[in-house]
Subunit: 349 residues, 2 copies
């Protein structure tokens, strides 16, 4: 099918042609996840979280579940940003209730443990999930591929786990920037292949998650967030010129303006702390804005939810805008609140 | 001594008269703390952390320790933002290595457990510390009193402990804003008394710590950060018109501009993620800027430290500016790095 035809069928893609749609397209970060009983049922069938990511049949099924329930305008392939270090041969496992644990890389010398030529078998399973999802997805629904941004993935690879201060990677950045740059460059290379493979398998667009972008001073943000993202997006655009790229520099705050202008992304996903006024005034007019409902407000529900949703939809009515949360959906969120949100956004409440 | 004379003696206060000083005055958040062996020696003598806050002789001693070592331009009274809930009769204790634990208040009905008329005995001990410190402090050194901002103190009182997402208070804010407002109003009342008492006892200026200001959507930030701070500052200014107030809305990002313009604070302390350009361009010209070295960079030391310190000092050379960290000093920071920092800022490195 020609790209133009596809674009007109898929509302998510029309937004990237500059259209301000009413109602705006909607999908939610982590829409396939623990808040859904049908997800928990599948999750209970596999021992390890990464095994679910690497089983295309099941990964495709959990990708499709929220689309069936809520008719979202986009599906996002079920995977994890730590597929990349895992595929590089770093030891990654998920401890129930505690999150990921990695065999931390603490110096440039330890980068030798990573094997960039080993990634294909695991990447292929994600690509197969993408292909399966695309086959079963309604034609009007867009499919999003994704990866973690080099900086955010590096914070896990260096820290060995998630952390509130990312001290491992941040100290390394101060003490040995050249050494850390080797890891970042390697992640850029591998992420280009990973996103490119997802696009080849059927992803309509991709999102780059930089969940830990927001904890850096301005000079570090430029060096470790903007520059690697700019290189990654540039290389991807050479191979796939028409495929939209959304960046999610969580917590970028006032630096979101430079991020949008300098990285080459087509859209910026804003976290819930980004003031609406900044999203309209500081982001370039051609940048698609995505966001940014507080996930806790979706969990809370009630009149406050309706009020804020109306504020968001009204605020962005003249803008190429995708309705989303400002971060992933909380596991305790009642599914009926999600149904209500979709109704509110589509004006049916 | 007349206020004018004092102001000229104390470089910290000259900045609040609008002077751009070279070198800028310097103090560090959490400068009295675990990174100092002499602090750890005193801390080992008392069982409970709050007991140290309530023992004026020892609290004064640890307040003075960093000033003796590094000749900072200001001392900050040794206390904790949880003195306020503790003085209100909420159960507060500190678990070694885990932080504070409070008997959480989960509804407006439970506010009855708090006793605003019970605060004086504990507040008086902090006031006595202030008086002792002022007596022993060099005349050129300013003394800072402080409290937590209502929102941040409420996040602990409601959550029962520190948390990365402040879900307890944030969900309450969405579900029952009137109920939470009762807690915030109570904290405003008590904080006015607490800061006022510190000023009466000898504090030259005060700082309001809003460590969890940065995790809120714009409408919530206005309601729970800007408004309570504006009321608190307004009431304090009525009683102590000439006493400078610094606000520290950590993580405020693009909202720092509204915070500075609307709360009535004389100075804004910026966290390390605030871009330097925002600090000069977005904050009003009459607002004193304080900040914002990354505490991890002070821990790391090395050439990166010298480079960033030079950048900060140069960037703010034409501005009424106080050199500080962007958050509290890390316990693992080598004291020699702090000595080096002071040398760098004062041009002696």
């Amino acid at each position: 099918m020609p790209a133009q035809k596809m674009a007109s069928e898929r509302r998510m893609l029309r937004v990237f042609a500059g259209e301000a749609l009413t109602p705006p397209p909607i999908w939610l970060m982590r829409q396939a996840g623990r808040y859904l009983p049908e997800y928990r049922a599948i999750r209970a069938r596999v021992g390890d979280f990464l095994e679910l990511c690497y089983t295309p049949e099941l990964a495709a099924e959990v990708t499709l579940q929220p689309v069936r329930r809520f008719d979202f305008d986009a599906a996002i392939v079920f995977a994890d940003i730590l597929v990349v270090p895992d595929a590089l041969n770093q030891t990654v496992h998920f401890v129930e209730g505690q999150g990921p644990r990695l065999d931390a890389i603490r110096s440039a010398a330890e980068l030798a443990r990573l094997n960039p030529s080993a990634t294909q078998p695991k990447f292929q399973r994600v690509f197969e999930t993408v292909a399966r999802v695309r086959q079963d997805l309604p034609r009007a629904t867009a499919l999003i591929g994704f990866c973690g941004a080099p900086w955010t993935v590096a914070t896990y690879m260096v820290g060995g786990q998630g952390s509130v201060d990312q001290a491992g990677a941040r100290l390394w950045a101060y003490r040995d920037p050249q050494g850390l740059q080797r890891l970042i460059s390697l992640l850029e290379d591998v992420s280009v292949e990973y996103l490119s493979g997802q696009i080849d398998a059927g992803a309509d667009l991709v999102q780059i998650f930089d969940s830990w972008a927001g904890n850096l001073p301005d000079d570090q943000f430029r060096h470790w967030v903007i520059e690697p993202t700019r290189r990654l997006v540039g290389r991807l655009k050479q191979r796939h010129p028409g495929v939209p790229v959304i960046g999610f520099p969580r917590g970028a705050g006032p630096l979101v303006r430079d991020y949008a202008r300098e990285t080459g992304v087509d859209g910026v996903s804003c976290d819930w702390t980004m003031p609406l006024q900044c999203m309209t005034q500081e982001l370039p007019g051609h940048t698609v804005v995505q966001g940014n409902l507080d996930p806790l407000l979706l969990l809370a529900g009630g009149p406050a939810l309706a009020c804020r949703v109306a504020e968001l939809v009204t605020h962005f009515s003249q803008r190429a805008f995708i309705f989303n949360l400002g971060h992933g959906i909380q596991p305790q969120t009642p599914p009926e609140n999600v149904a209500r949100l979709v109704g509110l956004v589509r004006g049916a409440d």
